[in-house]
């Protein structure tokens, strides 16, 4: 019914409708999430058949196994998506939290409370389960959503969005707060709608995220690259270092929080590197090593530019450093401020690393793969941000919130606090 409107008009309409969601109470949003979950069960045959068509077309077009894996909306994924909706629904209400409260003067009370951002523009890969997760997080946080999923999932996304819209129509909040975009031109249009969209969250290739950041004046949350490091300190437990490196590189190499470079202190290189190579051989990890590394183990020699590469595959740089400071400097120079870890039994070195490394996530003695909204206990995540403003690292519900200042007075005016006989503020914190 909206199709006679331009994309810009449709987006503006979503902005208008967003007020219903942003002023809703948690009960209404839980009701809506419940209806959405029921609707997905009801409409599952339609969704499944749409997904089969998407998958068949993708196969015909010779898409990779990895893409087909992400695209296919299996029974397993359906189950975990439905569990996810329930879990998100039961999280504490992120809206209306009193973040600060202060008595400015007798009868003049200030508070800062959390409020939804308004409208989120979300661009994501061909993963239908991600669509449902994103919608759950936005509904729970009271935000309207403009969605653009991967083109390969077009029919599945349409089936999902029409199911969700039908469910929403039966709720007290109604629908109109969700819009699915389908083309690159629509995304271009969206990126220019600054007054109607409060935040854009792009997921996808580095190049794409960078493109979005360069082509909109709407605030963008996300990360372009994930060049993560593991530093094996001179005081490291080497078995732990091998295990953590193996997990961080191989547990899911295509993830942004997988490591691309292992930095090894020279004093442990001779004992550590053979252990690493043995373990990495289990999964045939290709090692790109500097000259000294190549003198200890068999590896591809370092080429200009390797330190800045995000392999996203079973390949890994290994670089020997002569000091802690060289490791920290290497991370500052080549890292992407995403997730970096140290393996050390020296507490002072660990503390220094946490302070010195300027990344969203800085870890001691564990795998970088823990950098994830679910593992962090945020319920779920819409993405990981390497921006320093607003949310940094995995972005869950709280990253989808803004705040506003509320001031209750009894007729107070500023002129009473100025000039001779000026009253003074009390500024007493009440929280």
């Amino acid at each position: 019914m909206l199709h006679s409107m331009t994309i810009r008009e449709q987006i503006h309409k979503v902005k208008e409708q967003s007020r219903k969601l942003s002023t809703s109470d948690d009960g209404q949003r839980r009701e809506l999430l419940g209806l959405i979950a029921e609707g997905l069960v009801r409409d599952w045959p339609l969704i499944q058949s749409a997904n089969e068509q998407d998958c068949q077309r993708a196969m015909k077009e010779g898409e990779s196994q990895a893409l087909l894996g992400r695209l296919s909306f299996t029974e397993d994924k359906r189950r975990s998506v439905l569990t996810g909706i329930t879990q998100v629904s039961l999280l504490p209400d992120p809206k209306g939290r009193v973040l600060e409260k202060r008595l400015l003067d007798e009868g003049l009370t200030l508070s800062r409370v959390s409020v939804p951002l308004g409208v989120i523009g979300m661009i994501f890969e061909a993963r239908p389960d991600a669509l449902v997760q994103i919608v759950s997080l936005c509904v729970k946080s009271g935000n309207a959503i403009i969605l653009k999923g991967g083109a390969e999932a077009l029919l599945t996304n349409r089936a999902l969005v029409s199911s969700i819209a039908r469910s929403a129509g039966a709720s007290s909040l109604g629908n109109g707060w969700l819009l699915l975009l389908e083309s690159h031109e629509d995304v271009e249009e969206m990126l220019s709608c600054r007054s109607d969209i409060d935040l854009v969250i792009p997921r996808g290739s580095n190049k794409f995220v960078q493109y979005v950041m360069d082509h909109t004046s709407i605030p963008v949350l996300g990360h372009s690259s994930g060049i993560c490091h593991l530093y094996v300190d001179k005081d490291a437990n080497l078995d732990m270092a091998v295990n953590c490196a193996f997990d961080a590189k191989t547990q899911y190499p295509a993830a942004c929080n997988a490591i691309e470079t292992i930095l090894v202190h020279s004093s442990v290189a001779a004992s550590f590197l053979p252990l690493l190579q043995k373990k990495f051989n289990e999964k045939k990890v290709v090692i790109h090593g500097d000259e000294r590394v190549c003198s200890f183990i068999r590896c591809l020699p370092y080429k200009e530019g390797d330190w800045g590469k995000e392999y996203l595959a079973l390949e890994c740089n290994v670089h020997i450093v002569d000091s802690y400071q060289m490791a920290v400097d290497h991370i500052a120079t080549y890292g992407s401020h995403h997730t970096d870890a140290i393996i050390t039994d020296n507490d002072a070195t660990a503390k220094a690393f946490l302070m010195d490394v300027d990344s969203a996530d800085v870890f001691v003695n564990c795998s970088t793969r823990f950098a994830d909204g679910y593992r962090f206990g945020l319920g779920a995540e819409v993405g990981i941000s390497t921006s320093k403003i607003h949310a940094r690292g995995p972005v869950g519900l709280s990253g989808l919130m803004s705040s506003k200042w509320l001031l209750y007075g009894k007729g107070n005016v500023v002129s009473s606090y100025v000039g001779d006989h000026a009253k003074t503020f009390i500024h007493k914190d009440l929280l």
Copy 2:
């Protein structure tokens, strides 16, 4: 000595130097602020003489009284600037605060701590006292600064920055974390240094702030216009409404938090408007009224576009609305999401207004002029943000902070939490 480097190189140098500040402790930053304050006293004759030259040139060039007032660095301002440095210095350390803490599993503890943003790019008007205030806030929060002040204050700013650099040279943190830009071309260059600048805060005319927002992909915090409203509800105490309107319009009309439009419920218009006019006559406030307003009091008739004007002068729109909802809709349509207030004795209406109005500051029964970092008890402010992400409203120390996630493990790997026999997370909040 830096002048043989390009602006881009100088900015990159500041980024490198920023690590000293961002890893400093509060004692070092207090020491630095103390030295800066002493230095300003020591160098006061130089600063004063530079300021006199700036003022003389501005007078010769026929600048407005308002600009001369802002430009002139009087003894009064010096005193308040020195007090300000001490006050900011004594605020609690905004760095290293533990914002969240969670046990993910036995031996795996996550925390989120506040950290400085890094490098702030600050563009501000010809107010030398503002330069000192901004520097204090940035130092206290551990951020390096690229400054561009109004051209009229060039000599004063140079004298201030060289005094501050001299003081910093004697501190344990050294200098190099402060750079003064002098030309528009330098600002253009700065806006393109995304990898070296973490946040840009522009102050100035709407047009200028808008220009900055449109011409950089660095995150920008600020507000372009301040179209603030006062809504006089049907249940308003009319004397209170008159007092608050008078303060909000006349106490400092050039401020962004001064009101531009008064919305009056039709049921109280006949009694309220003559009272308003009488009070406004004291300061010769020009009223632009809609047709109905003109039938009650003498005023200039409303012209197309008036609702969206930021007068910044003793002029004010007055508009009669027939319902609460019409007032809220008017604010949503014409406001700039800065600061809006309601005058009402009806608690339910007040609560609805706080919820329904999507502005950084929403006030009940007081003047909009309270929207200010100092009055809010934030110590001071670098500006007021109408953006919904990061800090919203007056931006004090906490708005200059980011956070990072720290995870301490004992060799934990993600593969233990996946597949058959997967361990489950504990996710126990420790704060």
